[in-house]
């Protein structure tokens, strides 16, 4: 229980045996009142065992579905177990669990709360085309949600019961679908979205890709999703 709410932390993990143990242990010591569900997204390594040994419940998918696929499974689990709040956190430890109570608090005013990376705290930055397309996405989605959202691709977010129900039945699997498309749908269904500034920690392994071709691909996909989401029912 956090603030009288049953909270489930959903952590999609794909081949994260190296860091998932520490991440789960940290969350369990920082947030003793929350349950942790690790969704093992078809890992080839020991992710499921390491997570279980660290004290998390583990749902193991038979093959890789991607973040969106793992998250829908997490929301189905949250719905059937009757949790009030579901919070998505990355397995690599870049999200600081000490922000979780803030996110849960903010749920009293909104259905979806995003831990946003550019909103003042920390020093997360991206450059060039990707930055520009992220800014356009943020602008467009802020308009739809009638709230100021600066980070639409954050994988650190909390949602309430109504959205757990929605996401358990519908959660896109495509790249960016799990972040951008869900925000657009939630905004268009007139749920309230809010953001809380969070500082990111350095990723345990790897950096977000910055090559030009990837940025172009990213931008193209982002706008395609925006277009589809706007015309879709």
């Amino acid at each position: 229980m956090i603030n009288n709410k049953q909270v489930l932390i959903i952590m999609p993990a794909w081949n994260e045996a190296g860091c998932i143990g520490d991440t789960v242990r940290e969350i369990r010591s920082e947030l003793p009142g929350a349950d942790v569900l690790v969704v093992d997204d078809g890992s080839a390594d020991d992710t499921a065992h390491v997570a279980q040994a660290a004290g998390a419940a583990v749902a193991r998918l038979p093959y890789n579905l991607g973040v969106g696929g793992a998250m829908r499974l997490g929301y189905r689990y949250a719905r059937s177990a009757g949790y009030d709040v579901a919070i998505q956190i990355d397995a690599d430890g870049q999200h600081d669990p000490r922000y979780v109570p803030k996110l849960v608090d903010a749920l009293s005013e909104a259905s979806l709360v995003i831990g946003a990376r550019f909103a003042g705290e920390g020093s997360y930055c991206v450059r060039g085309l990707r930055r520009w397309s992220m800014a356009v996405l943020a602008f467009a989605i802020s308009k739809m949600a009638k709230a100021k959202l600066t980070d639409t691709t954050s994988g650190f977010r909390a949602c309430d019961r109504a959205l757990i129900d929605l996401f358990a039945g519908w959660y896109p699997m495509e790249y960016l679908g799990d972040t951008v498309e869900t925000l657009i749908r939630v905004a268009r269904l007139h749920y309230r979205i809010q953001q809380i500034p969070v500082a990111m920690r350095n990723r345990a392994a790897g950096m977000p890709s910055q090559s030009l071709s990837k940025s172009v691909l990213y931008t193209g996909r982002a706008f395609f999703i925006l277009l589809l989401a706007v015309v879709r029912r």
């Binding site: 969704v39 583990v58 749902a59 038979p62 499974l73 689990y77």
Partner: protein, 123 residues
């Protein structure tokens, strides 16, 4: 002209043969069987009489029956591939749901066998 008829009729027979064989081995779902049997039949008729559609083509302003067949064939294949994409999307959604069910069942199973082991230890 005779050479052309020879080529098209042989092709038609081969296509029909493949469809029939797949049906006979139950490799083709029945819902597709009717479609492909009709296609096979049309191909067979046009194979033996490639000039059959010349008058229709003339009526529609297409230079020759063969061009008309080519045009209709392309449209037909386009529709078939759109249909297949749709089917694959649906199947992916179904297998995704199945994968989720399996994961949930595994989780529940692990939880229950854990509880069972604890109870045994207490006893």
């Amino acid at each position: 002209m005779l050479k052309l008829t020879f080529l098209t009729s042989i092709t038609a027979l081969m296509v029909l043969g493949i469809i029939l064989e797949l049906l006979r081995r139950r490799q083709l779902r029945e819902k597709y069987a009717f479609l492909w049997m009709s296609v096979g039949l049309v191909v067979l008729i046009l194979g033996f009489l490639p000039r059959l559609l010349d008058s229709v083509a003339a009526m529609l302003g297409v230079a020759s029956g063969v061009s008309l067949v080519l045009f209709l064939g392309v449209i037909f294949l386009l529709l078939v591939s759109i249909h297949l994409s749709w089917e694959v999307s649906r199947l992916e959604e179904e297998t995704r749901t199945l994968a989720e069910e399996i994961a949930l069942i595994r989780t529940e199973f692990t939880r229950q066998s854990g509880e069972l082991a604890e109870r045994r230890q207490v006893e």
